[in-house]
């Protein structure tokens, strides 16, 4: 599952993309706590193991810095930057 942030400003050259694997997440919330921009939140839903995986609650804030990917102990989340020309094409 992946969520992308919309291009809020016209001069923005890229946007952040966060990819979350809901099923391997254990809901430790490291990514939510240590996202430098506070863009993530935990879902109220459960995954198959009974944990609350995160989701991109404020997509406009995400810049794809991949801090969530560095913190994830279960390799279930990562972020990257997508060039906007690439999206338009």
């Amino acid at each position: 599952m992946s969520a992308t942030s919309p291009a809020a400003k016209k001069d923005k050259k890229f946007r952040g993309v966060v990819v979350i694997n809901r099923e391997t997440c254990k809901g430790c919330a490291f990514c939510v706590e240590f996202c430098p921009l506070g863009a993530l939140e935990l879902e109220s839903d459960y995954n198959a193991k009974g944990y609350h995986p995160p989701f991109l609650a404020k997509p406009e804030l995400c810049n794809g810095c991949d801090m969530c990917g560095h913190f994830c102990p279960d390799f279930s989340i990562y972020g990257y930057r997508e060039k906007l020309e690439q999206v338009a094409a």
Partner: protein, 292 residues
Amino acid sequence: MSEPVKPNPTSKYLRTERLPSIWCPGCGIGTTVNCFTRALDGSGFDLDKVAIVSGIGCTGRVAGYLNLDSFHTTHGRAIPFATGLQMANPDLKVVVYSGDGDLSAIGGNHLIHAARRNVDMLVVCVNNFTYGMTGGQVTPTTFQTAVASTTPYGAYEETFNLPRLVDSCGGVYVARWTSYHVKQLAKSMGEALNKKGFRFIEILSPCPTLYLRRNKLGEGLDEMKFYKEKSVIKNGASTTETDLDYRKEIVVGTFVNRERPTNVEAMEARMSEVLGAKYVPYESPGKKPAWA
């Protein structure tokens, strides 16, 4: 919702079919493994030339999750195994990835002697202050007054300061980070992978199920916030200033970065000096089989 364009940067280095891992929610070991994959990613090594050796314990499971030549050895004997591996094939980058109980208690003797002899290996020690897999017994790194299953009234013995121990034994690269310092840790691991000699990185990491719950310190996330609040980066600090105390300031950073001949280099220098032309240096067989 669209399909991801880029794959997960860590998945190349992992046995993804074995995931999710056995580690508890809130455990920091996975974060350290994540940093290690990023250090490998940045170093650009041939992965056939990297071997990882683990002992027993929660951190001992790391070898099973990394998609490298990995060895899961007996309790405390990861360093002797890695020494043999490195001596038989000096081309290998040997990494020992294990816990504090495995490396400093059961394998404590091997740790100090590998550091003394300056065997060419990187030792990553994930310190969670307890024996996680066997039920939270006291380790040499458990703080005084902290409760463990074998010290229900609080531990009372003096603790090891691992960076200081390895520094005094002669390690060439000694660092301490916590699982909160992900970027610094990945950079430090990359630096250490590119060095020769005995490199040692201690990583403080939360154990939510045993250490934190027994001491009523909250979840793994609370411990990560504590690391964020209480740690002070002092690169190049003397290791005598890096003692840890229960719930006190944590000094992190790269403390030692020096050069010293490894045991193979020292042996070759001495043998050439004594035997002269009669001495034939050992050549690594590399990937070639012996009969080729």
